[in-house]
């Protein structure tokens, strides 16, 4: 009897639970990229599925390994339903790596897209969110590249390398975007994706056979939002300036003049500390920017062993960097959007004061905000050459 009870107990564990949430890998369509576009009739959603039968083939074969499913509908959910009807497998959203949103959607319907993604319990919140400029969002997902197996991989590796290594643009994850959207006194930015070249030929696998690709993906600028609406897409330099001030970028190349030639300094480990003070009932922002510089290209005739000249170059670099960074501040003032989260800092320093100015912050106070940038760069290295090459030859 006791054994029977135990048996019933154990059996009920197995039978009553019924393998909840059980999915075989074969039954899933692994979605690695989503694009959201809009036209007159409604939304167009594209799923990029990465486990098509093509992905099974070896890496040296010349087949495309990705496949796009498109759905249309008056809402995003309707559009996804439309895809599901065409898709023979269960769409699996946990491994989405990239979501590309068209400029138009970003301008008008950002919240709708956010709501759909946030509500879906399957979706991870660590997805790169991008805005497509000049092209349809779905086209960016379909540009093939010989370096990675899937376009979404290409975009992702592009993002990670651009944020870590070279100063072009920084990108933001979906969860960070949401956080910035929700917090007071801060407006979000997103990375912008562009396609250079012929889109139609870029979607063709043959394009990968050429040494020069027909179309490539670029991540060079940032999309600036005011609340949930896209207001401006920056240039590359403005985007870099914003990212340095937001501490998302640490490296930059600075060119300075010298006898009509150029000296290039590579600045690394840039750290920007933002401090907010309230003086005379007016907020004042000071940003301390520190960094290490090294000369990587010297084209003019200078005596680099002279410490005065080094100091001179250092000053020039600092001056150049300052004007460079002010570009970013000016953009924000122009579009009345608090990309740097100054308002948020004020709120943290003095919540009561923040409440009194919250209403008029973006429109009145921000454009006239007093922002001071202090720069100190430490030039520590001249590379392997002590002099400029012209001096060395002499």
């Amino acid at each position: 009897m006791k054994k029977l009870k135990l048996l019933i107990f154990i059996l009920s564990i197995f039978l009553l639970t019924g393998c909840w949430n059980y999915n075989e890998l074969n039954d899933l369509a692994l979605i690695s990229g989503i694009s959201i576009d809009k036209d007159e009739e409604g939304f167009i959603v594209n799923y990029m599925i990465s486990n098509s039968s093509k992905s099974e083939s070896k890496s040296n074969s010349n087949e495309t390994s990705t496949i796009l499913y498109e759905g249309r509908g008056s809402t995003i959910s309707k559009a996804t339903e439309n895809i599901n009807q065409k898709l023979p497998k269960i769409p699996y959203l946990s491994h989405v790596e990239v979501i590309v949103i068209s400029e138009e959607v970003a301008k008008n319907d950002m919240l709708k897209a956010m709501d759909f993604l946030l509500r879906n319990p399957e979706s991870r919140k660590e997805i790169y969110l991008l805005v497509s400029k000049d092209v349809k969002a779905k086209d960016t997902l379909s540009i093939l590249t010989p370096l990675e197996s899937f376009p979404s991989d290409n975009i992702k590796s592009n993002i990670t390398s651009s944020t870590n290594e070279i100063a072009t643009t920084s990108t933001i994850k979906y969860s960070e975007f949401l956080a910035e959207l929700i917090q007071r006194g801060i407006d979000p930015t997103l990375g912008v994706i562009e396609v250079e070249g012929n889109i139609e030929r870029g979607q063709n696998q043959e394009s990968n056979d050429n040494a020069r690709q027909d179309a490539i993906i670029k991540l060079t600028s940032s999309a600036i939002f005011k609340n949930e609406k896209l207001v401006y897409i920056t240039t590359q330099d403005e985007s870099t300036a914003i990212d340095i001030l937001n501490k998302k970028l640490q490296n930059i190349y600075i060119e300075t003049e010298c006898n009509n030639e150029k000296i290039v300094t590579y600045i690394t480990s840039i750290d920007a500390k933002t401090k907010v003070k309230i003086e005379n009932n007016k907020p004042k922002v000071t940003i301390d920017v520190k960094g290490d510089g090294s000369l990587i290209e010297v084209n003019c005739k200078v005596n680099l062993e002279d410490s005065k000249i080094i100091e001179e170059i250092q000053q020039q670099v600092e001056e150049k960097l300052k004007t460079f960074l002010y570009q970013g501040i000016n953009i924000c003032k122009k579009y009345k959007t608090d990309t740097f989260g100054f308002g948020n800092k004020i709120y943290k320093v003095n919540p009561k004061y923040w409440k009194s100015i919250e209403e008029k912050w973006n429109d009145e106070l921000l454009p006239q905000l007093d922002v001071e940038i202090k720069i100190s760069i430490d030039l520590y290295s001249k590379g392997s050459l002590n002099q400029s090459i012209k001096e060395e030859i002499k």
Binding site: F14, C19, Y22, L25, N26, L30, S50, N51, S55, H95
Partner: protein, 487 residues
């Protein structure tokens, strides 16, 4: 008890009668000083050379004895002339056949109710050979054989201490097997010895053929998959354990000795752990521990991962897995179980088959079942990899019972993982741990020294220290003498 008949023919007939006139019974009557002396032996277990060289030559001396003292004088004379064999005077019929079967020659006279037994055993054993199941790279290579005396000798020659005691039992109504309880008198907790002796004396069975029999009697009716006692064929391991303060049971005709009490970590130890650099040994033991976990958990982990918590798999790996799974007709669990069963069949057939057939088995296993099954799309390559990792890690243990019990638990984990995902694996972990923790042998917890935790005993667990630092015997054994050295 029936007295021995005093007529020679009566005794001969009696023995022939109880043994059904067995063909190997040999009888002979010689005359000494015109008095008849008979001797009887079993040709199958006795050495003809010993009988003719020593015994008969001693009997054929010219004796001049009185009839009254004939037997006593005969015994004294044999005792004086035969110096290297066992010599006994026996009274009862029951003992008579035991001695015959043990290779004794029985000498009978017409005048006494007693008989003389002289050991003339022939050598029916293979010699001391190299250990076959517990091989070492460095360290002693000898192993126990089927000969009880040689086995005892292999221990005795290693520990030359008067406190090394052998307590002998004869167990088995028909086999009359010698069972020796071996321990260091001044070290071991006598309570444990008494418990073992109690258990051994209650054994009522017709035959003991191997130490496996005794093991079952000592571990009791309650079944566990994990082996409760370590069985070893290496005298050096036996001596290590004796010096630790453990008790060893040696069984006649069995090359495997039992170590009592055994704890779980003992199975993670190898014979040569004591002979190598301690730091390396610690790392190796960590490796063995990891492979224990791998071999139990991997299939369940793989199934739970790919069917419940897909989001935990990195994207690239997932795409690769999904591509491999394409076209496989079975669910993941069925696929893995299929391969596991096939592997177990391969292992079993390899164990049972003569060595000449091993090559064909490995060809069939590797090529047909591995490669061809993948090409045919019956199983996915990743499942083959998973099963291969599982199986190889499982073979790190030399104890066959351990390997087999791991096999069962692997299946339990697999079922839980299939039905409940990671929750199931955690549940199975809890069940396994409670099962292990509930085992005890003679009052020693199976998980000692990890649970209950004892810091000083950790040198007997996973992390080994040098012999200089290992001055204390394991605490969990509650030995009388706790130190190894003089202090």
């Amino acid at each position: 008890m029936k007295k021995v008949d005093n007529k020679i023919e009566d005794i001969f007939n009696y023995i022939k009668q109880i043994n059904g006139n067995s063909p190997d019974i040999t009888t002979r009557i010689v005359k000494i000083d015109k008095k008849r002396v008979g001797y009887i032996f079993l040709q199958s277990v006795s050495s003809d050379d010993k009988i003719s060289d020593f015994l008969v030559k001693s009997l054929n001396l010219d004796y001049k004895f009185d009839t009254t003292n004939f037997f006593t004088n005969l015994f004294t004379n044999l005792q004086n002339s035969i110096s290297n064999s066992n010599l006994k005077v026996v009274q009862t019929n029951e003992d008579l056949f035991y001695y015959l079967a043990s290779g004794f020659t029985i000498i009978v006279t017409d005048y006494e109710t007693k008989v003389i037994c002289v050991e003339t055993k022939t050598n029916l054993d293979r010699g001391v050979t190299e250990a076959s199941t517990e091989t070492v790279i460095r360290g002693p290579k000898d192993s126990f054989t089927e000969n009880h005396m040689i086995n005892m000798g292999l221990i005795r020659k290693r520990i030359k201490d008067p406190n090394l005691w052998f307590d002998e039992f004869k167990i088995g109504r028909r086999t009359q097997t010698k069972v020796d309880v071996i321990y260091l008198k001044d070290v071991v907790d006598m309570e444990k010895i008494n418990k073992i002796k109690d258990k051994l004396s209650t054994i009522d069975i017709d035959g003991i053929l191997d130490s496996g029999y005794i093991r079952q009697f000592i571990t009791g009716k309650k079944t566990y998959f994990f082996p409760k006692l370590l069985s070893t064929e290496r005298p050096d391991i036996v001596c290590t354990n004796l010096l630790d303060g453990k008790i060893v049971i040696l069984i006649e005709n069995s090359p495997f000795a039992l170590v009592i009490p055994t704890v779980f970590v003992d199975f993670l130890h190898s014979a040569e752990d004591d002979y190598q650099i301690p730091l390396n040994v610690s790392l190796t033991r960590i490796l063995r521990f990891i492979s224990l976990i791998i071999t139990i958990i991997t299939p369940a982990f793989y199934i739970a991962m790919t069917t419940y918590d897909i989001k935990l798999i990195p994207s690239h790996l997932l795409i690769s897995l999904a591509a491999q799974r394409r076209g496989v007709p079975f669910p993941t669990a069925v696929e893995v179980i299929l391969l596991l069963v096939i592997f177990e069949i391969l292992r079993e057939s390899d164990l049972r088959s003569p060595s000449k057939m091993g090559a064909s088995i490995s060809i069939v296993g590797a090529l047909v079942l591995g490669d061809a099954a993948v090409s045919a799309g019956i199983v996915s390559p990743i499942a083959v990899i998973i099963v291969a990792i599982t199986s190889v890690s499982g073979l790190i243990f030399s104890d066959i019972d351990m390997v087999n019990s791991i096999r069962i638990w692997r299946l339990v984990f697999l079922i839980f993982g299939t039905v409940l995902g990671f929750v199931g694996i955690v549940a199975a972990c809890i069940i396994l741990t409670t099962r292990l923790a509930s085992i005890e042998t003679l009052g020693t917890p199976y998980l000692a020294p990890i649970s209950p935790f004892n810091l000083k005993d950790q040198v007997y667990g996973i992390f080994k220290k040098s012999k200089m630092s290992t001055t204390k015997r394991p605490n969990y054994l509650h030995t009388i003498n706790k130190t190894r050295g003089s202090k």
